[in-house]
């Protein structure tokens, strides 16, 4: 029975955009809205998976994963901006509108290459990866663990948020990037494009899930669990825990970057608000809610908390923060092993 559970869920999820093709008014038709929201949740699920890999498996509680997510999003966003080309308000062949506007004469060097999709996709993985490498190397080398690491990573995403809010950075400041036109030749803002992006996100989620599952089943996965439970003991066994932690942290950051890269074309906007520390903490709550240390839990958590949030922000616009806050309080107290832990019991 359990063997078919996951493939069954994936098949159901894959069916969703197809139900959107049914004629309006059909009893089982799902609306565009549901497809686009579900696509967003898929991206969040990848982010949750990435976070779970670092936190649930290796005990690295990053409160800065939102930053990796946002950087991935910005990389793709830059590509999408380049693709607008002369269709922008000011009709400049190369420069995006906001640059024309701030009086840029030419494209800043860090925008070079983003006209090419493969390059942008590469950067969406590499930039978060490199940042994770730098921060992780410095932190793990100095044996910064636990809540200290959480605070450091939180400061990292906060500093990035402040920096990206600056218009002088060349990333569009508070407005970020929006009004995208197309991606790989496909016009965005159509139900078709959203379905395609939905499938891409689903494929990425399945890929990331399988990769994570395979990885955690190897001896590497067991080393991570050992590091989580007793890091210094692992060192006395002769493992250079710095390298293991760095490996999983960088991988996790790249996964988060991929999630961000898929997210931006789906929601149609990226701006520095994505770096806000609260976003990263929220992602941690998804994982905790679903059940950390289990991949299914992370995915389930991302879906359920976000579904709740989408529903509550319409159902009880004045009270939803309280409901969600109470949920955050209740999870560590009443269900420390999350949804999955509860279901298994």
């Amino acid at each position: 029975m359990r063997r078919f559970l996951l493939p069954g869920i994936v098949a159901l999820l894959a069916l969703l955009p197809l139900l959107n093709l049914l004629p309006e008014g059909h009893p089982i038709r799902v609306s565009d809205f549901v497809v686009s929201v579900a696509g967003k949740w898929l991206c969040y699920a990848i982010l949750a998976l990435a976070l779970d890999l670092a936190w649930g498996y290796a005990g690295i509680l990053s409160l800065g994963h939102g930053a990796f997510f946002a950087l991935g999003g910005y990389a793709i966003g830059m590509h999408l901006m380049r693709l607008i080309g002369p269709r922008g308000t000011y009709g400049h062949p190369v420069l995006p509108d906001f640059m024309v506007f701030l009086g840029y004469q030419e494209l800043p060097w860090f925008w070079w290459g983003f006209g090419h999709f493969p390059f942008a996709l590469l950067m969406a993985l590499l930039v978060p990866g490199l940042l994770a490498f730098a921060v992780g190397y410095l932190a793990f080398r100095s044996r910064i663990t636990g809540v200290y690491l959480s605070i450091i990573t939180q400061a990292m995403t906060y500093a990035l948020m402040l920096a990206f809010f600056r218009n002088d950075m060349g990333f569009g400041g508070n407005n970020g990037f929006t009004d995208f036109k197309e991606l790989v030749g496909m016009p965005l803002n159509t139900p078709f494009a959203r379905s395609v992006l939905y499938f891409a996100a689903l494929a990425a989620l399945v890929g990331c899930f399988l990769l994570s599952a395979a990885m955690t089943r190897t001896k590497f996965g067991r080393v991570l669990a050992a590091i989580r439970d007793a890091e210094s003991r692992v060192r006395f066994l002769g493992y250079d825990t710095l390298r293991h932690k760095l490996f999983v942290f960088v991988l996790s950051a790249m996964m988060a970057g991929l999630a961000g890269a898929l997210y931006v074309p789906l929601v149609g906007i990226i701006n520095p608000g994505e770096f806000s520390p609260a976003n990263s903490i929220e992602a941690v709550v998804w994982v905790a809610f679903g059940g950390r240390g289990t991949l299914v839990g992370a995915v389930l958590g991302a879906f359920s908390v976000n579904a709740l949030k989408t529903w509550l922000t319409s159902f009880a616009p004045d009270l939803w923060l309280i409901v969600l806050g109470v949920l955050f309080i209740a999870v560590p107290l009443l269900m420390p092993r999350g949804l999955v832990g509860m279901l298994r019991r």
Binding site: S31, F33, V34, N167, D318
Partner: protein, 409 residues
């Protein structure tokens, strides 16, 4: 009350209910979406606008709705989160099938929902002053464009009543509205013979609370022997600490007057305004306007919100104008269909609380009067200057050279 409405909305929001009911059946309620943040950083400004829309809705229903159809609000909370704005916009249009939406504050939220409204051919009323440089067939802009606020205000500063300023400090929060406005103002100032050496421009992040250094630098800049004035595009939250610092460092309006474009009655409600008397704000409406339409508006608001001390402000007035115009346009078109309403909107006129008549022009912007107010000790503004007539919006500013090769259309 609004909770009850939204509960019904929420049932639909599940997305599981098939939406078989045709939304435009005769006598079915007209749905009005409200897309204002009720939590997060923007809640401070936007909750009052949500209440304004609900108030107008109640009023319209008390008049028998529109064409015999009742109005029903769908309130959602985009939580000051820009991607959530886009999601909620789509939800309003596709799940709740609203006929019109009122919402957003700050350009980024509008730019986030704009592709959604264009794709799904929805109708959005945006009630806040903004930097211009935009024109969408699906949006009606009921706030001011730069020429309806910023330029007249600076003109006032340069004139005899404003103190004949020769140096200008442009202070702003680092986002697109201040950046654009200041760019336009720089062009304007240069055209008035004020060189760049006499212009200081500085930006701070959202919610900036430590103004000591900047105010001290402004003082120094002003101490170069020329009459100096501050033009502030500082956004909501940061204003209270800014004005406190201004007052505490003893900068009086007689020495360095400060004119603000984002400070209204609501913002002043959080400050002790006695040290600030004489500093200025430019809007298209002040609560202190002496006109019958305004007395009705203030009375209606205080009655609705059940608080005799609550204030009204410019974006609330803009919301009211937009709502009334939309209601008139629906009545004229005889349908809520977006294309028909859009056509009917152009040329609609409303006797606004500002005491002037506002008209919707073909560029989807309103004609508005410009008023300069001085802050008074009681937190209100004393209107020291106003244009004789409502002026039309230039959403594409002539002071931005790139607008010359803008794509039309």
């Amino acid at each position: 009350m609004n909770l009850r409405i939204s509960r019904r909305a929420a049932l639909l929001g599940l997305g599981t209910l098939p939406l078989a009911t045709p939304a435009f059946a005769q006598g079915a309620p007209i749905k009005v979406g409200v897309l204002h943040s009720l939590s997060g950083t923007m809640a401070i400004s936007e909750t009052a606008l949500r209440d304004t829309v609900l108030m107008m809705l109640e009023w319209q229903n008390s008049q028998g709705g529109i064409g015999g159809r009742r109005l029903e609000a769908v309130v959602v909370d985009p939580a000051s989160n820009w991607p959530l704005f886009a999601e909620k916009a789509r939800e309003l249009l596709q799940v709740h099938r609203v006929d019109v939406s009122f919402g957003c504050w700050t350009s980024v939220s509008r730019k986030s929902v704009l592709p959604v409204y264009e794709e799904l051919n929805g109708l959005l009323f945006y009630p806040v002053q903004y930097e211009g440089e935009e024109e969408s067939r699906n949006i009606f802009y009921t706030g001011a464009a730069p020429n309806q606020q910023a330029i007249p205000a600076v003109e006032y500063l340069l004139g005899p009543d404003g103190g004949e300023a020769q140096r200008i400090v442009l202070l702003g929060t680092d986002y697109v509205y201040p950046r654009t406005t200041n760019r336009i103002l720089r062009g304007f100032l240069n055209s008035k013979g004020i060189t760049n050496a006499d212009i200081m421009e500085e930006y701070t992040p959202f919610g900036h609370s430590d103004w000591q250094g900047i105010v001290a630098r402004v003082k120094r800049f002003a101490g170069e022997g020329k009459k100096t004035a501050i033009v502030s595009t500082i956004n909501g939250d940061a204003n209270v600490p800014f004005y406190r610092e201004l007052g505490n460092q003893g900068i009086k309006a007689e020495d360095i007057p400060c004119v603000a474009f984002s400070v209204g009655e609501e913002e002043l409600a959080g400050i002790d305004t006695r040290p600030l008397v004489g500093h200025l704000a430019a809007w298209n409406y002040f609560m202190s306007v002496d006109a019958p339409a305004n007395r009705d508006f203030v009375g209606m608001w205080r009655n609705y919100i059940k608080n005799p001390r609550r204030v009204t402000n410019d974006p609330m007035e803009a919301t009211l104008i937009g709502f009334k115009m939309w209601a008139q346009a629906v009545a004229k078109a005889g349908t809520t269909s977006v294309d028909a309403v859009r056509t009917a909107m152009i040329g609609q006129k409303v006797a606004a609380p500002s005491g002037y008549e506002s008209e919707m022009k073909a560029n989807h912007h309103l004609t508005k009067p410009v008023m300069i107010g001085e802050i008074q000790a009681d937190g209100q503004f004393s209107i020291v200057s106003k244009t004789p007539t409502a002026i039309a919006a230039e959403n594409w500013s002539p002071f931005i050279p790139e607008n010359a090769n803008r794509r039309r259309g």
